[in-house]
């Protein structure tokens, strides 16, 4: 019986194997058809000739050129032969280069032989027919041997009969002086520099932005973060409100401060004063140690100081932006050749000002969330389960409504329903209902895995973003900021954020948990744990991933020019389209050199640090 079973299963097994093999054969056969596999083309003579030509061109990058001088060696020739046969023989100087034709006159279409003597050895050049009208026509190419002799058969062209002598010439080209860079080489140099800096900027911005994101996208840091239904609902309600208030506030402050904009000194003084106030009130509000649990009045006092510090920080950031813009503008004119420093300062100021509303919105949102969190915790501690449940239901209904309304607002922006019923009323109703149901089901004090949810959402967004090719992003960026390296930098930076945040977060996930536990046990909070236990462990992999990414970005920025993103790609594509393969070869060479040296430098840096 058992034996039977075994036999059966072995037959089944071999059948299955056979089927698998059959299926894979079919799959690959289909793949051949789909991808148009046709090796006959690879053997076709025409194509091989073309390929050879292109490869030979690519092997000779048009890097340098020489100044050349041309010397024409000529001999008179009569076309047609004169009637009276009176032709002056010219004595050839046997010490100098000269050419000689087999006959000194001929009719059109006749073939004659041209010989050259005492020419430079081993050179190539054209043999021309110089008509009486001064028009040149190339008849053939000559190539001298090691003794400076050549012989070549040429066909006499059809020309109007002329009585006087015309000429057959051989042109000797000699290079003089030192080699010079070609225009292609110069343009390539400019563009490769641009390429490296696109990569540098994209990597820097991408790294800076992806480090904080990587912590949010790390499972081991997020999975333990939970919050109770009360706090969660309050957070969902609180953040948009806080963010909106922050946005309005920052706009108002910027408007308020705008009269200062003109005056450098007033701005500087304002910057110093606001910075000082921010620093002092921060010191007041955040004592370096608190041994005892602080009393309520002390806590309120601290809160006020921190609030003042926050406001002053926002003001000083704005003033900083204004100040750098003013200074940058002035310096750009003064500094002359290094005016780009001023330009950079101006841009930094501008970026700062641009970011202020966003930063303020997030900060205000954060403040409101942390306040609401405290409220939520105290509600939970002080109320009995039944009342808490009712409050939870109320809060989560509102939270659901707000959440759905916000999500729908984004969707509405894309699809423009222009119908409040679809874009507002229904989402509010559905969201409110969902929140209501959730709150009814959930235990009022049971913590929700908010950390895990945030982790999942972040990961999903990163994965989606990462799957979009930088080339596609560059196309969109070009639409936004116009053709040029800035578009390329933006596209690459965005892609870098997505890619690096994922790589980084995987590093965070693979760190040793022990130190984390130990630092936690000392009473450190989340932030301190990250600074003291997580960051020291991830520095080496972060550096090596950043270098690796720079490497990728350099390679990416070489082709991002294909779609108008600046860098060397534009030149490369242009030359390929113009069939100037020798020029394209220069760009390819430059890319190879840069990528190889990046590789070398990054491995050296990694060795040093890791």
């Amino acid at each position: 019986m058992r034996c039977d079973l075994k036999k059966k299963s072995s037959i089944l097994k071999s059948l299955r194997t056979g089927l698998l093999i059959a299926i894979s054969i079919i799959v690959f056969a289909y793949a051949f058809q789909v991808t148009n596999v046709n090796f006959e083309t690879t053997r076709s003579e025409v194509r091989i000739t073309q390929l050879t030509r292109v490869l030979r061109a690519l092997a000779k990058p048009e890097l340098v050129k020489y100044d050349t001088t041309e010397e024409e060696i000529s001999t008179p020739f009569y076309l047609p032969c004169p009637e009276n046969n009176e032709i002056e023989e010219i004595e050839k100087n046997a010490n100098e280069a000269y050419i000689q034709t087999s006959v000194i006159c001929a009719s059109p279409k006749e073939t004659i032989t041209v010989e050259g003597f005492n020419m430079p050895a081993n050179i190539k050049g054209p043999v021309n027919f110089l008509a009486a009208s001064g028009v040149k026509r190339q008849l053939a190419n000559f190539e001298t041997n090691s003794e400076g002799y050549f012989t070549v058969d040429v066909v006499i062209p059809t020309r109007q009969p002329v009585a006087e002598a015309q000429y057959i010439t051989a042109t000797i080209r000699t290079t003089t002086g030192l080699p010079k860079w070609t225009e292609t080489a110069k343009a390539t140099w400019d563009k490769i520099i641009e390429t490296v800096f696109i990569a540098l900027l994209a990597t820097t911005i991408g790294t800076a932005a992806s480090i904080p994101i990587s912590f949010i996208a790390a499972r081991n840091l997020m999975k333990d973060s939970t919050s109770t239904p009360t706090s969660t609902a309050l957070n969902i309600i609180g953040f948009p409100i806080g963010a909106y208030l922050g946005y309005i506030f920052s706009k108002w402050v910027i408007d308020l401060l705008s009269p200062l904009e003109k005056n450098v000194f007033v701005t500087l003084i304002g910057l110093i004063i606001s910075g000082l106030i921010a620093y002092l009130s921060l010191r007041k509000g955040l004592p370096s140690e608190d041994i005892k649990k602080p009393s309520t009045s002390v806590r309120i006092q601290r809160f006020i100081f921190i609030f003042i510090a926050g406001l002053m920080t926002i003001i000083s950031i704005i003033l900083f932006g204004e100040f750098t813009k003013l200074i940058g503008n002035a310096l750009e004119n003064i500094l002359g050749p290094i005016g780009f420093l001023g330009y950079a300062l101006f841009q930094i100021g501008d970026i700062t000002l641009m970011l202020v509303p966003a930063i303020t919105a997030i900060a205000f949102g954060g403040v409101v969330v942390s306040l609401f969190n405290k409220v939520g915790l105290s509600l939970q501690d002080n109320l009995n389960t039944k009342i808490l449940k009712i409050i939870n239901i109320l809060l989560s209904t509102i939270a659901g409504a707000i959440l759905f309304a916000l999500v729908m607002a984004v969707i509405n922006w894309f699809y423009q329903f222009n119908n409040p019923r679809i874009s507002l009323y229904y989402p509010v109703l559905i969201g409110g209902f969902a929140g209501f149901i959730l709150a009814v089901i959930a235990k009022p004090k049971h913590p929700l895995p908010t950390g895990f949810i945030i982790y999942t959402v972040t990961r999903t967004i990163l994965n989606a973003l990462r799957s979009i090719e930088p080339l596609v992003m560059a196309i969109i960026a070009v639409i936004w900021v116009g053709i040029g390296p800035f578009a390329g930098s933006l596209a690459l930076a965005l892609h870098t954020i997505a890619a690096l945040a994922k790589l980084y977060s995987e590093q965070v996930e693979s760190i040793d948990d022990g130190p984390l536990e130990a630092i936690h046990a000392t009473g450190a909070n989340k932030l301190q744990t990250i600074v003291f236990a997580v960051i020291p462990q991830i520095i080496p992999p972060y550096i090596s991933f950043t270098m690796y990414r720079w490497d990728i970005n350099v390679r990416m920025s070489t082709i991002i020019g294909f779609v108008g993103g600046g860098g060397i790609g534009f030149l490369l594509q242009q030359n390929i389209n113009l069939l100037s393969y020798r020029a394209a070869s220069v760009q390819m060479l430059a890319i190879a050199v840069v990528v190889a040296s990046m590789d070398y430098v990054s491995s050296k840096i990694r060795e040093r640090i890791v």
Binding site: L282, L286, P287, S288, E289, D290, I291, K293, L377, D381, D512, G514, P515, E517, A518, I519, H520, A521, T522, G523, A524, N525, L527, Q528, V531, F532, A533, P536, Q537, I539, P540
Partner: protein
Amino acid sequence: MLEIINLTKVYEGNVQALDNVSFNVQPGEFLAVIGLSGSGKSTLLRCINRLVEPTNGEVIWDGVDVTKAGPDELRRIRRQIGMIFQHFNLVERSKVLTNVLAGRLGYTNPAMSLVNRFSKSDVEMAYKQLERVGITDQANKRADELSGGQQQRVSIARAMMQNPKIILADEPVASLDPVLAHSIMQYLEKINKEDGVTIICSLHFLDLVHRYANRAIALNAGVLMFDGAPKEIDDGKFKEIYGKEAERVG
């Protein structure tokens, strides 16, 4: 000082790590926790400072229920409870001094520690603690350059930075050789006797328990099997704690 009442921990997948464990710890005690691997010793220690969230029961510390403490309260409780681990759990790439200073984090303002800044008095204290465990000269080395025994001494210094009232030691000598084990245990003893710090220490070897502890509790599959003086552990008790087939070594 520390009162554990009906502490129960069930891990995901219905693994019962602690089952209704109750006991008291008096100030100044050196309490050993014994039991087989997997009997719940580590879980018990971690439930006290809530590195592991207990499923049920109470941990009363200085009259406050730790299991119900909010984040701020928990921070204040944790910083009075030092902890030492089997694998030292130092941040290996950081300097020894930084590792020791990390013990001060519970007292330091998070905003200040963001930029890695500690007060002068904290730094002085760190050097004092390093001197106490005899490795002042290693202060500026990276933690992973130190030997196992030295690393455990660093982690004792780190725990002492907390000005702890109690130290939880989770098999502090299990990955050290016997000579080093005794030296580490002597440091703990010294802290216990001189500073009056209560110590709860899980141990594998009974001779260490006899030598250093003045009380022992035993766990078997999460159940408290024994609570008394170490010398009361006779052969009968031993079999009860470690199972019928166990034999005494050392």
